[in-house]
Symmetry: C2
Subunit: 643 residues, 2 copies
């Protein structure tokens, strides 16, 4: 399909927007009138810039409050249209969006509207222009695509079609079943935007909270599938009014916009394939072929390893933390200054290799997580999928007989490695490391696996990260959480594989002094917030960690009094939790979650130890506020010194 | 009245909150349970801290989902209550908030609820505790104060009263007429919060958007007046859930909280006085006497002068701008390094005096507006009003025979001078300045007055500034505006005297690279955004300024093409505007606004020249986006150098 985006979706001056749109790989651009109005060149200059960038002006918009106006204003409105047609000639576009009137005195009479639209179409025809008539969800009289199509059908003019916009249709939960009855040639244009479900005024919702397909809650594929079933082969164009996008770096937003359309095409193709016979009257063969079809999403099996960028000093400090948590050195890399720590089946890697991606990461962020590795069924396929979603693949230096592990660059330059276990092949550790003879741990492992990791994300990057995990890895997005820190709010949104084996909360905060804001400043960007390690015996794990010198975060006694009031827990159990600073949650079906936090490591991230009982699948978010307050109090005590 | 605030209204740890509440002058504090839960001391520690600060714990809250619960949970709920009563004993408070159940399986039967509440009141009585029963606006069954009062009345127990909360009542536009029928002794507690009117889910609205009385759109005085008419003499307590307050400096927020209660008391007193006979059945004499009654709001007459903090070099640069705009030196201060510039009736002052408040302001912010002077009917009364609202008065050094001008410190440390013209007395200029013989301008003045000034305000200070103008000066607040900058959004909210003679838009932005964000960084805080000067002939004023070397901001030609399409203006007039870079707006009754902007002065603020025709009273906000885009383009050109 041909991809476009409206200039209003991006930040910057008009030339900045156009360059970013072209660089992202779009074929066309909708010129939003205000962007032209503020531009200090002529419409012909815009036409030239767009052509030089190898694109087309797909649409000019909007033209408002035309049809059904007061009769004494009709001539003025037609004159206004002619002026805009002149402008379109200079811009070099043949398509204009006319949106349904919001005027309080619009004439509520289909016959009048049909006459007005026919007159406008006639004038457009003389200039070779096609009108796309769009029903605004808040249109005063016409406010559904069904009504717009009824009028367009009645006018029956080749220069008038409907413009279908996902926001205006899905925000009002409109009936989509009539879409496929519209002949493809009567669909003048298709505009796409997603949005989170919000209980608010639809105009405010539309103006500030739209987002790219896949970033919100709408069923965009359910909207596009019937359009494709009509045989439509025109533009798919993003029109997103979003306060964040207005301020975000133009290039990143544009790149994600294109990805969102590719992602939507994939989903639409799946929808068409799944429901072709049941739902659609015409076979959508040609439509499906026109859609983007990337390699299938991987099957996942948790996190294979975590890799930290360090220098020599940081390696010593982090290594000491790992040792205190029960890890020991399992091997050293054959050709690089890289150390493997292992506890049971958990692998942690310290990368101090000079002249490597890790060293670059260290230079930018200090001691930090520079890579996480996902276990997948087919690493090459997983990487190819990411590449087709236009993410950069990474290939580091590979020594003789070492294995090349496919990797994808995340939005902050860190890596996501993709690891599969090839039949009868050596493991990546066997290929790349000199493993110690005693690498297999003799003692039973107290910690069983990496439960998950959470990342602190700079607010202007959050959408980029969500798009990264959703499109290239096919992850789902959880509901947004708001967590109270003593100095403001922390917002968390998790991405996760559909099987739940990989779960990554993305945490952000715009308030100056929250724990997450401090973290972002310390890293000078996004970075690891916590590593969560699962155990089958939280009390033993906490005791072992403490005995080895790990500082466990102190939890206020009042917390346990309240737990008691809420759950009437067995006194011995409660006392044990209080003694070990273990927090508690219980889900509706009686599943229990016991967890403890360490103090801050490197003034940045921390470890969390978790025990899940009886099928508890959540993450103890209810206790995040206790943790953040305890962290502040620990800091205060550290500043004040010993009592 | 006795004033309290809930700890949840403020940021910080519990001890930080308590100290700020006491410093602000509150008599009591509501302990919100989570704050206690996160605190690493005991409830007795809290009691001691509160007592040491000279306050009381006015309330413990909340206790949820008690009444009408599933019968097999009633005993557990009563036990839970006993545990909280224990806690209250340690905290040293006798009052608890019980909010109406939100449980989906609440029993919808008043008889059951009455029985449950009676049982709870009986247990509370044994401990000397009073229950305040509050109807949440989203309560599953009980969701209005009227229903809560019906139940409380039926229980008829001295240890049970209603807790009236302005948000829960005003958010649902509830009928207030039954309030005054409640006996004062049955009102256990009064909680107050304002909120902006928002078309959104009431729970979300309540949790994130409440604000202090006077900061939102609710008629709080209309809520408190009937409460006072009952003879209620208990607590007036703020309970505000606000995302901004959660992150703002604790002390400033608490101070504004107390001011908001004083302000509300003043408004309530006026309401009672105005409507005593018409509305209230009992004479509210005692009630009115208990309320705060500050000196009356001033009568205003525009801006008398603007004063800038400068050093020698900045004085030369700014002086040159003033001269180019048609000002000339009218005098020098008798005892300080201060220069008066004048054009017609407009006075601008450059203050380069070492060891002065202006020098402090210069040190903190660079060349900047350090004072604005308002013309009032009685300067001493105006200052006394500000003092009673707990703002700091300022008294600078006064030389012999010079006049002491009362001044109030604004939230950023700048001053608002209050100037009256005392009969038969010298003007402040005659008292304090050596005026030049030719100080009265011979040529007719092209610029007639200071139309208004706009300030760029750091986002975390915006509420403080609004409170400052509303309470101490009795200003109104205009509707919030959102203005699109090429790199994000600028939000503007104007404060203005009720007669409209003083109008001050407060502009803020949280996006990194908007014009206002750049301004805030340049000033390292809040500061002047523009000075708007009125003229009766915009074309002559622009010509004169240009002839004197003032750079007028270039406006894109496309803007004029669009103006033409919108208004079909007379071609000669349009061409004249385009030539002079004059922008245009027209109001609904045909009033016209012509205005032009200068380039940036000191890379900070700029001047705007305005001509109002036919009674136009707005401020051309529709053209702000054009200005901000033009500013970016001018910057780009400046960086790129001449073509």
């Amino acid at each position: 399909m041909r991809h476009a985006i409206a200039t209003v979706s991006l930040s910057g001056t008009l030339p900045e927007k156009l360059e970013a749109v072209a660089a992202a790989g779009f074929d066309g651009v909708e010129i939003f009138e205000n962007d032209l109005l503020y531009f200090d060149g002529s419409p012909r200059d815009v036409r030239r810039i767009v052509a030089d960038l190898g694109m087309e002006v797909s649409l000019f918009q909007p033209f408002r409050d035309f049809e059904g106006c007061r009769r004494d204003r009709l001539q003025q409105n037609l004159d206004r249209a002619e002026r805009k047609f002149d402008l379109m000639g200079e811009l070099g576009t043949d398509r204009i969006l006319v949106c349904s009137s919001v005027s309080p005195d619009v004439i509520r009479d289909d016959e009048v509207l049909i006459e007005d639209l026919a007159r406008l179409a006639e004038r457009a025809a003389r200039r070779g222009i096609v009108i796309g008539y769009e029903a605004l969800a808040w249109g005063r009289y016409v406010n559904s695509y069904r009504h717009a199509w009824k009028l367009v059908k009645a006018v029956d003019h080749p220069n008038l079609g409907v413009l279908l916009d996902s926001f205006h249709t899905l925000s009002i939960d409109d009936d989509l079943s009539l879409i496929q009855a519209i002949p493809a040639e009567k669909i003048a244009f298709v505009q796409l935007a997603d949005a989170p479900r919000m209980a608010m005024d639809v105009l405010e919702w539309s103006r500030h909270h739209r987002c790219f397909p896949g970033q919100g809650d709408f069923d965009l594929a359910g909207f596009v599938a019937p359009i494709m079933a009509t045989g439509y082969q025109g533009w798919l164009s993003l029109e997103v009014f979003n306060d964040g996008f207005r301020a975000a770096p133009t290039g990143r937003t544009a790149a994600d916009g294109l990805r969102s359309l590719l992602y939507l095409e994939e989903k639409t193709g799946q929808r068409l394939a799944a429901s072709a016979r049941a739902t659609f009257t015409r076979p959508p063969q040609a439509a499906t072929e026109a859609l983007f079809q990337p390699p299938a999403v991987s099957a996942y099996d948790g996190i294979e390893f975590l890799e930290f960028a360090v220098d020599g000093a940081a390696a010593a400090r982090l290594g000491e933390w790992f040792r205190q948590l029960g890890f020991r050195v399992a091997g050293t890399h054959r050709s690089k200054d890289v150390t493997l720590f292992r506890h049971g089946a958990i692998n942690l890697i310290l990368n101090a290799e000079p002249d490597s991606f890790a060293r670059e990461h260290f230079a930018a962020h200090g001691p930090s997580l520079c890579a996480l590795a996902l276990r997948v069924d087919d690493a090459e396929r997983a990487a190819e999928r990411a590449r087709q979603f236009r993410y950069e693949l990474f290939a580091g230096r590979v020594g003789p007989n070492e294995r090349r592990i496919p990797a994808v660059r995340a939005p902050d330059g860190s890596l996501v490695y993709l690891v599969d276990q090839q039949p009868n092949a050596a493991s990546i550790y066997e290929s790349d490391f000199e493993l110690r003879a005693d690498a297999g741990d003799a003692a039973p492992a107290l910690l069983t696996r990496i439960d998950y990791v959470a990342l602190g994300i700079a607010v202007e990057e959050l959408d980029n990260w969500i798009m990264f995990f959703r499109s290239s890895f096919g992850f789902d997005t959880g509901a947004p959480l708001t967590l109270p820190d003593p100095y403001g709010l922390v917002r968390s949104r998790a991405v996760r594989s559909t099987d739940g084996s990989v779960h990554v909360p993305l945490m952000t905060s715009t308030d100056r002094d929250t724990a997450v804001s401090r973290l972002l400043r310390t890293y000078r960007g996004s970075g690891l917030q916590r590593i969560v390690l699962a155990t089958d015996d939280i009390f033993a794990a906490v005791r072992a960690a403490r005995d080895n010198g790990v500082a466990i975060l102190d939890i206020p006694r009042n917390y346990y009094d309240d737990l008691d009031a809420r759950y009437a827990l067995e006194p011995g159990f409660l006392a044990r939790m209080a003694e070990a600073n273990v927090l508690y949650d219980r889900d509706e079906s009686g599943g229990e979650f016991l967890h403890a936090y360490t103090a801050l490591c490197e003034e940045r991230f921390f470890f969390e130890l978790t025990e899940r009982r009886g099928g508890y699948t959540q993450h103890g978010a209810v206790n995040a506020a206790v943790r953040m307050a305890a962290l502040v109090q620990a800091r205060r005590r550290a500043v004040a010194g010993p009592d």
